[in-house]
């Protein structure tokens, strides 16, 4: 078989193998489904609760996408500002790093004080948790424009703005798309945390209720749904990255 075909098959083989191994271990070691349900049990639960799961998953998906969208817009803007001004960069970096170090679970109560229980806290949590990698990557891409390129353009009378938009932003795009893959998974973490603490719908809320009622298979089913959604969103951002910045992926190693 050709290497290319092997590479295309590999994810499927490994995924199926992982679940098969899990299934076998559960049966051979006779693990209680309260501790670790077998994949078959989980799939049954997914089927059984399908309408409930679909409803809550759609909510979580929307919360995640809204927060992620905010993070992309804000991250691009702030990244451009930080990348083009060394003064603002130096000035705000400690603040940003400090803010990013706060576990976002700890921020949810404040969001509830401000906005009450509802859709705002999950969206805000998803946004707050996922904008940082975007900012850092966009800023790095813009700040590392080759000095010679800058000289060529400045000698022609280019303004700072010209240089940022003609060279900095396109140059930052591979960094930006790279950070999106990190940000989308973080946004899921954020929206689920938000839903667990401050929402009446969503997978996060479902998880809280299911675990309070000891409905273990439902908890696992919800986790599987989250994982699948996460993989799909990741794949979409990775596809966008490939089609937007093909010029940056010409390394022999990436081929």
């Amino acid at each position: 078989m050709k290497t290319k075909n092997k590479l295309a098959l590999a994810p499927w083989v490994f995924t199926v193998g992982f679940f098969a191994l899990w299934e076998i271990l559960c049966h051979v070691l006779k693990i209680s489904s309260f501790i670790l349900p077998a994949p078959s049990t989980i799939m049954w639960a997914v089927w059984e609760y399908r309408s409930q799961l679909a409803y809550h998953a759609m909510h979580t998906l929307w919360m995640t996408l809204a927060g992620f969208g905010l993070a992309v817009g804000f991250g691009l803007l702030l990244g451009m500002v930080l990348g083009s001004s060394r003064l603002i960069n130096a000035g705000t970096y400690p603040l940003l790093v400090g803010f990013n170090s706060i576990p976002k679970v700890a921020v949810v109560p404040i969001l509830v004080f401000w906005f009450g229980v509802g859709w705002v806290p999950p969206v805000m949590t998803a946004f707050l948790i996922s904008f940082f990698p975007i900012v850092v990557n966009v800023a790095t891409g813009i700040a590392t424009v080759e000095p010679e390129m800058e000289d060529v353009l400045r000698a022609l009378g280019a303004s700072k703005r010209d240089i940022v938009f003609k060279v900095g932003v396109p140059r930052a795009m591979p960094y930006f798309f790279g950070s999106l893959k990190v940000a989308i998974t973080l946004a899921y973490v954020g929206s689920v945390i938000g839903e667990q603490n401050a929402s009446n719908v969503g997978i996060g809320n479902l998880l809280t209720r299911a675990s309070a009622a000891f409905e273990v298979p439902l908890v696992w089913a919800a986790l599987v749904v989250l994982a699948v959604l996460g993989v799909i969103m990741y794949a979409i951002t990775a596809y966008a990255e490939r089609s937007m910045t093909g010029w940056a992926q010409r390394s022999q190693m990436a081929a």
């Binding site: 390129m149 000289d151 400045r154 000698a155 022609l156 009378g157 010209d162 795009m173 010029w247 940056a248």
Partner: protein, 263 residues
Amino acid sequence: MSVFVDIHDVTHVYARAEDGLPAVQNLNLKVNKGEFAAIVGPSGCGKSTLMKLATGLQFPVEGTVIVDGKQVGAPVKLAGMAFQNPTMLPWRTTLDNILLPLEIVEPHRSRLRRHKAEYVAKAESLLAQVGLKGQGHKFPWQLSGGMQQRASLCRALIHEPKLLMLDEPFGALDSFTREELWCVMRDLHAAQKVTIILVTHDLREAAFLADRIFCMSARPGRIVAEREVEFPRPRDLEITYTPEFSALVHELRGHIAQARQAA
């Protein structure tokens, strides 16, 4: 002949220099309009500083820089530049890279969109002049180092600059490609009547291309010798094997050796 670039008694210290030592000191240099000048010197002698001063990217702490009759107080906007590193933007095709200066500099900036075809034709003709006919649609990373450097020369010339600044443009190329590009440069200069300042380490390159050669001392840089080159134009690569040429290179080498010793 009128003086195009006049650097008069210039001393420049970078604000970021840790030792506070000037990069160039009491630098005097005059290049006539349409002349091909070369600046040679030991490494770290402030040649790049000189380029930045002449294009208005840096302003001297002391002395004056006059380009095209005006004292330089802002980026000059009439210069094209090329460096040892071709610095092509990898997300643009070679043709779009060459058109980049037109998106910056007036009057082209406001004309570019409506007169695109005219500018593209001009870029294509420049590409043909440097031996890259029909290669404009390729991305720069699909071209060899020498081809990228040719494209970078086209980018430096597309807006018809009055002044062309070349900072060791052929430094990273193998000697055959380098000699080929000398001839390209010679022909471009003959065709465009642009004033050129070439900064180089290569004495043969300076002797073959230039009308006037300046030797710089080690840091703090200043001009230690100025030499007119009288070989008739158009020059053929064969002249580099004549005794007169060797004598000139030898003489330049002496100046550089002295400049290095003085440091």
